[in-house]
């Protein structure tokens, strides 16, 4: 489904509270963020939270969370010597297998391959605050990972 434009005006106060849910996921993407928890942070109803979040930020909350987890895993692979298992755990996955599969689906290469490639091509962006560099390399997931998998199988 394409990300259709949201023509109806959104209540800035609600958006500000939805932003709080986004900020909380940003701060701790490795934690579990079930909808009731996110709705509570936003002071929004559970029934409307996911739709409101998508209207506000263009992606459903859990796909957004996935982009942050991949971003964190990517940064840890690039910037640390931590074993991949530890990185999977720190980025919010309970299983190395799921992490590896999801990472490959999103980035098109395995965590190990990404790490080797990132080491060969340093970013050289020391003058840019680290979080902005990291955010600029966040995956742009316009479709869900399952859709992406289906599309690739169909090729």
């Amino acid at each position: 489904m394409p990300d259709d434009a949201t023509a109806t005006p959104l209540d800035p106060d609600l958006l500000r509270r939805l932003l709080r849910a986004k900020d909380r996921m940003d701060a701790a993407p490795h934690e579990d963020w079930p909808v009731p928890r996110l709705a509570r942070v936003s002071g929004a109803s559970e029934a409307h939270f996911a739709r409101s979040f998508r209207d506000a930020f263009g992606v459903p909350p859990h796909r957004y969370l996935l982009t942050r987890r991949i971003e964190r895993a990517t940064a840890l692979l690039r910037d640390t010597e931590l074993p991949v298992t530890e990185i999977a755990f720190r980025a919010g996955w309970n299983s190395l297998g799921t992490f590896g599969r999801t990472f490959r689906d999103v980035k098109g290469e395995s965590p190990g391959e990404f790490r080797a490639r990132a080491r060969r091509a340093p970013f050289g962006l020391e003058q840019v605050p680290g979080c902005y560099v990291s955010a600029a390399h966040r995956p742009d997931l316009r479709i869900s990972v399952s859709e992406k998998r289906r599309a690739e199988r169909g090729r």
């Binding site: 800035p12 958006l15 500000r16 932003l19 701060a27 930020f57 020391e126 605050p129 680290g130 979080c131």
Partner: protein, 138 residues
């Protein structure tokens, strides 16, 4: 300073609320506050940076038409305005102090790239990164 950037503005949802935040919670000073009627020109200043003013402006008619003002309010509330960076001498101390005053932090202080940084937002949604000044001496 005779030449350089003098004022950069951020959009805020409510100037009175923003004034309270930047002055009482961040320790800025009011530089200019004029025109309390329809349009209010309000700028604040970091106490150690007299050559620079941060403008706190509301998106509203007649400067912007009503529809554009609404769009800007949405953008600000979504945290989509560009990054702002506040440089401090001691990030952890500033974090403790500001947090005690009720500043909404989005990121606790983290050591990275030879410095320490934290993140907070103003009440409107403008996102600030707070970065500890790098020690240039060895």
């Amino acid at each position: 300073m005779s030449a350089g950037v003098g004022v950069v503005g951020v959009y805020v949802r409510d100037q009175e609320e923003a004034l309270g935040f930047y002055v009482e919670k961040l320790g800025f000073r009011v530089h200019t506050d004029v025109g309390k009627g329809e349009y209010r020109w309000l700028t604040v200043q970091h106490p150690e940076q007299p050559s620079f003013q941060l403008g706190l402006f509301t998106p509203q008619p007649p400067t912007l038409d009503a529809a554009t003002a609404q769009t800007v309010r949405e953008i600000v509330a979504k945290g989509a305005m560009p990054p702002l960076v506040l440089v401090v001498g001691d990030c952890r101390a500033a974090y403790d102090e500001m947090r005690g005053r009720g500043v909404e932090f989005t990121q606790e202080p983290i050591d990275r790239y030879g410095s320490v940084d934290a993140g907070f937002r103003d009440p409107s949604g403008n996102g600030w990164k707070m970065i500890e000044a790098r020690r240039t001496s060895t």
